[in-house]
């Protein structure tokens, strides 16, 4: 029998991880929902931004919040660049070509990062304390990451529901052509969406680098789980992705403690495959 304290600790860690995963999933899902293209290389953009934070903070000695701002700005610029250089020219081509193009970007970014920075693992060392709550050690870095992720998602929610351009982004995801009839240039809406999605990747990078080391294959570690969350929540469904993030992170964290970390991922994939059969449209899909 496993000590309930361990289980509780795992559950809390799962919750905290879920916050950052949700940020990634929402960014990817936002882009997919509006532009209808899955950015296979999304988490590799996160990887690039993590390197940016590493250099700004660890190599050049700036404070972490500067690194975070640089990362968000870089993420937004990368998002715009990916849209203009890669997505825009293939917007109307077959879905398989779109997957190949963004998949190609993934391999390019991985190799490019390996070429520039080798496969060494690099981390940002912050002197953050560990808290003891009811005998459970809780990482302050994770708490901060969780809190900032939640604040960012709240900001995204307000942006999408309270501003003209945010509402237009949701409208385009429902009917591209009708929104053009309202006077919105779809290309401009796509660029804004890509910038917002990229900025979320940048923020996620800053929150991840205070918990994990970065290496060129970081995207391969976090990419699959991010896609699983998006599909589980229903591609394009923001609330679904949010809920699915916490389901997946809890499954990984709790079964990781009961069995092993590897087993945690195995079980997460099993849950995913079962859910695909039970609810192919996502956990929150409307029936009928």
């Amino acid at each position: 029998m496993i000590d309930p304290v361990f289980l509780a600790e795992a559950a809390i860690n799962g919750l905290l991880l879920g916050g950052v995963l949700a940020l990634l999933a929402l960014g990817l899902n936002l882009i997919f929902g509006v532009i209808d293209i899955v950015w296979i290389a999304y988490v590799d953009l996160v990887m690039l931004c993590m390197y940016a934070v590493y250099f700004v903070v660890q190599v050049y000695g700036w404070p972490i919040w500067v690194g975070g701002l640089v990362s968000v700005a870089l993420g937004a610029l990368l998002g715009i660049a990916v849209h203009l250089l890669i997505i825009s020219p293939i917007l109307t081509s077959a879905p398989v070509n779109q997957l190949l193009a963004t998949g190609g970007l993934l391999f390019f970014l991985q190799s490019f990062a390996t070429f520039l920075w080798t496969t060494d693992h690099r981390s940002v060392r912050l002197a953050l304390p560990r808290l003891e709550i009811l005998d459970m050690p809780i990482s302050v870095a994770r708490l901060i990451a969780f809190a900032l992720a939640i604040v960012a998602m709240l900001g995204l929610y307000l942006f999408l529901t309270r501003t003209y351009i945010g509402t237009a982004i949701r409208a385009v995801s429902q009917d591209r052509e009708a929104m053009a009839l309202m006077g919105a240039n779809p290309q401009r809406v796509y660029v804004v969406t890509s910038a917002v999605g990229g900025a979320m990747a940048g923020l996620a990078a800053a929150l991840l680098i205070i918990q994990y080391a970065v290496h060129p294959f970081f995207g391969a570690a976090f990419g699959p789980i991010t896609f699983m969350i998006c599909v589980l929540g229903g591609l394009g469904n923001m609330v679904g992705a949010f809920v699915a993030s916490f389901i997946m992170s809890e499954v990984i964290a709790v079964s990781g403690v009961i069995w092993s970390t590897e087993m945690g991922y195995v079980i997460a994939f099993v849950v995913f495959i079962v859910m695909i059969f039970v609810r192919p449209g996502g956990i929150l899909a409307r029936r009928g």
């Binding site: 949701r170 429902q174 009839l181 919105a184």
Partner: protein, 234 residues
């Protein structure tokens, strides 16, 4: 106000409109009638810029608009209420109307436009917080028209407004369109419900297999034996 001369348009290798010329004067209500697949929707789409004409010219208030993108043409004062309504189903009624006033010029007069739309369609005011997709077919059509009015258009293109509505709702809808007309908007409407639409408009064009076959005063057209037999069902 709007003039098309010798416009040819289509999709890919398929040509849906051949050499179409028509005009709509300010303050007029004009109908284009014709059977299914005669090119009526293509005609609307080419005017609002959703597809580019292959040949011919389109002018609106003296400006050439042929081949300009849709998001630009709405700024000139042409609002297109597309076939099948095409409201944003997951947005609230209020947000749908807000999107109708997306352009900066329309945004500046948002409150005034909204009051006018609510006065025309009180149901939209009552249901402002509701998801647009949960409205009835008739209410969705009102929302689609209201959303178009939010852009402060001079000319409204209505594509099959009565499509998919119950007969009693069709009559109500035509009454509402009549009221929109009385507000001073110029209307170009495409309809399969020929009998009703000819009572609404001043002039009409008959479109068949992509070509204008006949043109005239609505009352005169309704009297034509040919039109009566084929479309009015008398």
């Amino acid at each position: 106000m709007l003039a098309l001369s010798n416009v040819t348009a289509g999709y890919g290798a398929f040509t849906a409109l051949w050499d179409v010329s028509l005009r709509v004067d300010a303050g007029e209500a004009v109908a284009v009638v014709g059977p299914n697949g005669s090119g009526k929707t293509t005609l609307m789409r080419v005017i609002s810029g959703l597809i580019a004409p292959r040949a011919g010219t389109l002018t609106f208030e003296g400006k050439a608009i042929g081949g300009r993108p849709a998001y630009e043409i709405v700024g000139h004062g042409i609002a297109h209420v597309p076939e099948g309504r095409r409201i944003f189903p997951a947005l609230s009624v209020a947000d749908n109307l807000k999107m109708g006033a997306f352009l900066p010029a329309a945004r500046a007069t948002f409150a005034e436009s909204l009051a006018r739309v609510h006065a025309l369609f009180p149901a939209l005011a009552e249901r402002r917080a509701q998801r647009a997709g949960s409205l009835s077919g008739g209410e969705q059509q009102m929302l689609a028209i209201g959303r178009a009015l939010m852009s402060r258009p001079k000319l409204i293109l209505l594509d099959e407004p009565s499509m998919g509505l119950a007969p009693v709702m069709v009559l109500r809808l035509f009454d509402l369109i009549r009221r929109v007309r009385q507000e001073g908007y110029t209307i170009l409407v495409v309809e399969q419900n020929v009998r009703q639409v000819l009572k609404l408009v001043d002039r009409a064009y008959l479109l068949e297999v992509g070509r204008i076959k006949m043109e005239g005063q609505a009352a005169a057209l309704a009297e034509q034996d040919f039109v009566r037999k084929a479309y009015v069902g008398l």
